[in-house]
């Protein structure tokens, strides 16, 4: 408590010293220094703190108004040098957990980071177990080059989060000490989520913090896995909760993870329901009602997929032959959406429900099929007309040629 009061007073006083006018002595001297000691100033100048007027002394203490090194680094003036892990957390929290203070900069600013952090494994390790190997604020956000999370140069920008976490969590040796495999980052990079993030540049694709939280970083417990996935996969979670598998949590199964895995999640395929490689076979024996459900759902989905492919091929063929297939394409898109919904419907593990959803797609496909068939018939009719009429014109052309020849002989 005493320490907190001191740090708060120190932060308030040091803000008063300001950075808006002349450069502080910290900037002036450290810019001239070579190597490591000059880096903090260079990095700080690109940071959000520099933009907002937070200077070196606000975190490190000391007297930035004097040019003398000893006076500037005076312990009496609160100079603490390089803060330790616990100090870092407290220092950051001094401002970032102070709601009225933060709202002055951004009315929508979060101030629950410290509170969440203290509940996380990172926070517990640092603050309670005094284990400095765990992550503090600077481990993720950087010490001096701190930027807004949505700045593409920020260490916590969605596309960079995985590598930021990977600095520690990709270190197998270090992770082994905490009973973590250390394969998580490498696994994630093979996943459908990583594909969306890195290849499709979809910043809404989940990275580490979307499932594990960011400041309150704790691994999701068995009871929450499906809730975590359900934040994005809403329909899948709803259907799962309506299914016979809703009691999985009580049985100790880990929800979505049981079938899809966790970090190395691959795009789902219909094979996951096949009678030879189906994922259901992990728990269910052939002959059980669940096996029959799996088989029926697989048949419905693969049948729908095949029809979708065949119909698309017909539409493409008609379009290649110059027919306007815009309406057919739109309906085909609807059918594709229904097919995706049918695949989602399997999470209810009910054949009737899957077939019911698939029926919408089948009706759309019937419609598109008729449109494509009519168009292809129209193409054939047009070509027949051309062969007939064009042939007549060609005969006339030849006759004219012969006539000219005979006239001029």
């Amino acid at each position: 408590m005493k320490m907190k009061i001191i740090l708060t007073l120190f932060a308030i006083v040091s803000f008063g010293l300001g950075v808006h006018g002349e450069p502080t002595s910290c900037e002036t001297c450290h810019t001239r220094l070579k190597g490591q000691l000059s880096q903090p100033v260079a990095q700080w100048k690109t940071s959000i703190h520099h933009q907002m007027g937070v200077n070196c002394a606000n975190c490190h203490g000391g007297n930035p108004a004097v040019k003398n090194m000893k006076a500037a680094h005076s312990r009496k003036k609160g100079w603490i040098g390089k803060p330790g892990p616990i100090q870092i957390v407290k220092l950051c929290g001094t401002c970032h957990a102070d709601e009225p203070f933060m709202k002055k900069y951004n009315p929508n600013a979060r101030t629950d980071q410290l509170k969440n952090y203290l509940t996380s494994n990172h926070g517990i390790n640092i603050m309670k177990k005094k284990d400095g190997r765990a992550a503090t604020c600077v481990s993720c956000h950087g010490a001096h080059d701190i930027l807004k999370a949505l700045s593409p140069r920020s260490h916590v920008y969605p596309a960079k989060v995985v590598d930021t976490c990977g600095k520690c969590h990709g270190n197998k040796k270090l992770m082994m000490e905490f009973g973590i495999s250390g394969n998580e980052v490498a696994d994630y990079k093979t996943s459908v989520h990583a594909n969306a993030l890195y290849k499709k540049h979809d910043l809404s694709a989940p990275t580490c913090n979307d499932c594990h939280g960011n400041h309150g970083a704790v691994p999701p417990g068995a009871s929450s896995v499906e809730k975590v996935c359900g934040t994005c996969h809403v329909m899948n979670q709803k259907l799962f909760d309506e299914s016979s598998h809703k009691t999985w949590d009580e049985m100790g199964f880990k929800g979505c993870m049981e079938c899809h895995g966790n970090h190395a999640i691959q795009p789902p395929t219909d094979t996951m329901l096949s009678t030879d490689k189906g994922i259901c076979l992990n728990c269910h024996e052939p002959g059980e009602p669940a096996f029959k459900t799996m088989k029926a759902m697989h048949k419905a989905l693969t049948g729908l997929k095949a029809r979708l492919g065949k119909t698309r091929e017909m539409v493409d063929r008609a379009a290649e032959k110059g027919m306007l297939m815009d309406d057919a394409m739109l309906t085909l898109q609807d059918a594709k959406t229904s097919y995706i919904q049918s695949r989602t419907a399997v999470h209810r593990f009910n054949t009737g429900y899957v077939e019911h959803v698939a029926k919408t797609a089948l009706l759309d496909l019937d419609k598109v099929n008729r449109m494509a068939k009519n168009s292809l018939e129209e193409v054939a009719k047009r070509r027949s007309l051309f062969y007939g009429f064009g042939g007549l014109l060609l005969i006339l052309l030849i006759l004219l040629g012969l006539k000219i020849r005979s006239m001029e002989k």
């Binding site: 027919m323 047009r382 009429f389 004219l400 000219i404």
Partner: protein, 351 residues
């Protein structure tokens, strides 16, 4: 019966010119006679343009909100609408091709020489007008490609010194390509250009009839053939050939409608104008941003205009041909110009 009708008409007007054309007009026969047929083919395709254009007018709606839908309606709902629209688009392209072939044929046969200078000049104006038809007609379906190509095409007009911005606004009917541009292009396409082209075409045809067909310098004449029916039948053969090609193209490669305009979307990659503008497009593309302080676009436009002016003035530049002497340098220049045009067009299309 026919005689009676002829006599009735002849009582009221002099038909000697028509009779001369039908019975006495002859055409020199030589190994290049075939090259005289491209002009007739262009005329035939122009007539097709008028007929199909009138049919399209029955359904086409020239507003930004309706243009695309009306063309879609024509090609999907109107009986044979797909054929009429495709023929209109393909014959526009074939007509410009026929005019180019006609122009190069006449150039290499030196048919521009005295006394046919005016025929050449009117022919050149007809080529420019036909390209104007193509440019204004391209926008009318109001599809994505046409919209962005017109934006690029009209932008070059803005580079004209002093009056560039004013000219751009006149062309577009505002700062950007909008529904106002579509109205403007439609009006020009269906009223202004047809009136002007029919006037110039009449002069061109009148000159051809009055002066007859030229005989190339130093080419052995194998006698003469009557214009009617011998040459007319050859023309008819050419027209039939053009009609078969046109029908084949419309059937096997129907002209695409593309996607409707989305003015908020970014321009799709690889936007290029029609093939007959590709050479000019490529020249403008090759120009640096500025050369000796003069904007590159302006230099490009100046070069294109100088090239056009040289072609227009060929009859007056080729003094030797006007003295009925061979002018090999002009033939070489023509070959180089043809190779350059084809090469730059193919290059622009591919890259």
């Amino acid at each position: 019966m026919l005689k009676k009708i002829t006599a009735w008409v002849e009582d009221r007007m002099d038909l000697s010119t028509v009779r001369h054309l039908m019975l006495e007009k002859t055409v020199p026969k030589h190994r290049y006679t075939f090259f005289h047929l491209f002009g007739g083919a262009a005329l035939f395709l122009f007539v097709i343009q008028i007929v199909t254009g009138i049919l399209l007018l029955l359904y086409y709606k020239p507003t930004a909100g309706e243009a695309y839908k009306s063309v879609k309606f024509i090609i999907t709902q109107v009986p044979f609408g797909w054929l009429i629209r495709s023929i209109h688009s393909w014959s526009a392209n074939l007509m410009i091709l026929a005019i180019f072939l006609h122009m190069f044929a006449k150039y290499f046969l030196k048919a521009y020489r005295k006394p046919r200078e005016l025929t050449w000049i009117s022919g050149f104006i007809l080529l420019v007008l036909a390209m104007g038809f193509g440019f204004t007609g391209y926008l009318l379906p109001w599809n994505e490609l046409a919209y962005f190509a017109t934006r690029v095409g009209t932008e070059s007009v803005g580079a004209t010194p002093l009056i560039g911005h004013w000219l751009l606004q006149v062309f577009r009917g505002g700062e950007d390509v909008t529904g106002a541009t579509l109205n403007r292009f439609f009006a020009i396409h269906v009223t202004v250009l047809p009136l002007v082209i029919i006037g110039i075409l009449s002069i061109h045809l009148l000159l051809v009839q009055a002066q007859g067909m030229s005989k190339p310098i130093d080419v052995e004449e194998k006698g003469k053939i009557p214009f009617f029916p011998n040459f007319m039948l050859r023309d008819l053969m050419m027209w039939l050939g053009a009609l078969i090609i046109l029908l084949g193209l419309a059937t096997f490669l129907p002209w695409e409608l593309g996607r409707p305009v989305d003015t908020f979307a970014s321009a799709p990659a690889g936007i290029k104008p029609e093939w007959y503008f590709l050479s000019m497009y490529q020249i403008l593309k090759w120009m640096p941003a500025a050369l000796a302080g003069i904007p590159g676009e302006l230099i490009g436009i100046a070069l294109i205009n100088i090239g056009g002016a040289l072609v227009l003035l060929v009859p007056f530049l080729d003094r030797k041909a006007s003295r009925e002497e061979r002018s090999p340098w002009f033939t070489i220049f023509g070959i180089l110009a043809l190779v350059f045009l084809v090469a730059i067009t193919v290059y622009a299309k591919l890259y």
